[in-house]
């Protein structure tokens, strides 16, 4: 195992025991060989690019995109690739990769495709090097020594940028989902309902409390029905948080009725030793609203024979 350290800041470990040239030599070699390599890539640009695009097509990658789109992206990536080999700086490439990811992620391009595509380019270029230097095995080896670390670094950069962009998109979606996920609805004067659907984690519970307490203020609520039919399970911390929310609502003058407690959640509440006298629970949402109406002194009466 040896470390090739190159003036452009590439630190790449290779495990080529066969070539234990000392670091100085290796560095010098990279400096002399890379320009040759770059010249070769410039010279055969159109044919290598075509080969790459064909192999992407053969491997059934990027099928979400039209062949024309694939080809134009292929061209940009190829040029960026050669530029990285030439300058040693991946800044530009990273920028481009992020931009590209932003365009292709919404179209359903997967991580494995992006990595596959970049590795294919690496293979195509390596093949062309094999062909070019096939008569001089020694030289081929040295060229590959210079080429491989750089190529690996490029592949890592592109894949990394793609994954980063993907994560950013996921985070963004999580945020918007969270916004949507806790509606505070007024069903009657002074009566709010808060249907909770989905997993209630600590962060969401916190947000729910804030929205509820603000909602009590703005709607001047006196009774709140929290329906947790759609919550599969809660851990003790969240159950505790729920109880505190009930207390805090009470401090603001609103009574809370909890409906739709599953047996799992009910057991959790009992396990953490909630003071059950403080909790007003009703089996289902309908019962909860009826109880709330009773507390508010509202009576719903069916009009006699309506519609007949």
């Amino acid at each position: 195992m040896m470390l090739i350290s190159d003036p452009r800041g590439w630190d790449v470990a290779t495990d080529r025991d066969a070539h234990e040239a000392d670091a100085g030599d290796a560095q010098e070699e990279v400096e002399t060989l890379l320009p040759q390599l770059v010249a070769h890539l410039h010279e055969h640009r159109s044919e290598l690019r075509q080969q790459w695009a064909d192999r992407i097509n053969d491997a059934h990658l990027l099928e979400a995109m039209t062949p024309q789109e694939v080809f134009s992206e292929v061209t940009s990536v190829y040029d960026n690739y050669v530029e990285v080999l030439e300058t040693g700086s991946v800044g530009e490439l990273r920028h481009y990769a992020r931009d590209l990811s932003e365009r292709i992620i919404p179209r359903g391009v997967e991580t494995h495709e992006v990595i596959g595509v970049v590795l294919l380019l690496r293979d195509v270029l390596a093949r062309s090097l094999f062909e070019k230097y096939r008569d001089d095995f020694e030289l081929l080896n040295r060229v590959l020594n210079a080429y491989e670390p750089a190529a690996n670094r490029i592949a890592t950069t592109v894949a990394g940028s793609f994954v980063e962009e993907r994560e950013r998109v996921i985070r963004q979606q999580e945020d918007s989902l969270r916004e949507l996920s806790t509606p505070v609805l007024q069903v009657r004067e002074r009566l709010l309902i808060l249907p909770i659907i989905g997993v209630l984690d600590k962060e969401r519970a916190q947000q729910l409390t804030e929205q509820l307490l603000r909602g009590i203020r703005t709607h001047r609520a006196r009774v709140v029905v929290i329906d947790i039919t759609g919550v599969p399970d809660v851990d003790e911390a969240v159950a505790d948080h729920l109880v505190r929310t009930v207390d805090a609502s009470r401090l603001m003058g609103a009574g809370v009725i909890i409906t739709g407690l599953s047996s799992e959640i009910a057991q959790t509440l009992v396990t953490i030793g909630v003071d059950l006298d403080k909790m007003n629970t009703v089996g289902d949402l309908q019962g909860g609203i009826e109880e709330a109406e009773r507390l508010l002194g509202v009576k719903v009466v069916r009009t006699d024979d309506a519609g007949h």
Binding site: R220, T245, A248, R250, L251, M252
Partner: protein, 140 residues
Amino acid sequence: MRDTEQPPPQEPLRVSILTQGSYLIASIHTALDDGQLHRFRTDLLELIGHRRSRGVIIDVAALDVIDSFACHTLRTIAQVARLRGAETVVVGIQPDVAFTMVKLGAKLESMTTALDLEEGFERLAGIAAVTPLPDAPGLR
């Protein structure tokens, strides 16, 4: 300089206590320290006797923080007032304050709370069974 010229003789309590029929309405305008809270408690309980009040509303809407001592004071006022024949409702607790109080483990079982002054009146009418003025307009 200014401090020596105008020494606060007896720092006025930033609380106004108004009478509305048989109710007392105490509004706290700024944060009170422990000594001021104590004075507030004494003054208020004194007044309940003087005015023969049946209900007390304490408005804390201006407070950003209600610490454990303030909480204790409010609770004591409620308990003492009850012994003297008046029910107490605390109104105007802000959302953030409410949650902080609960997080700090405030014991509020004996305290009646309501959203704001208007709600407080209604709540009092319910529990104290006395309306502030028999013919007060707008109040039930």
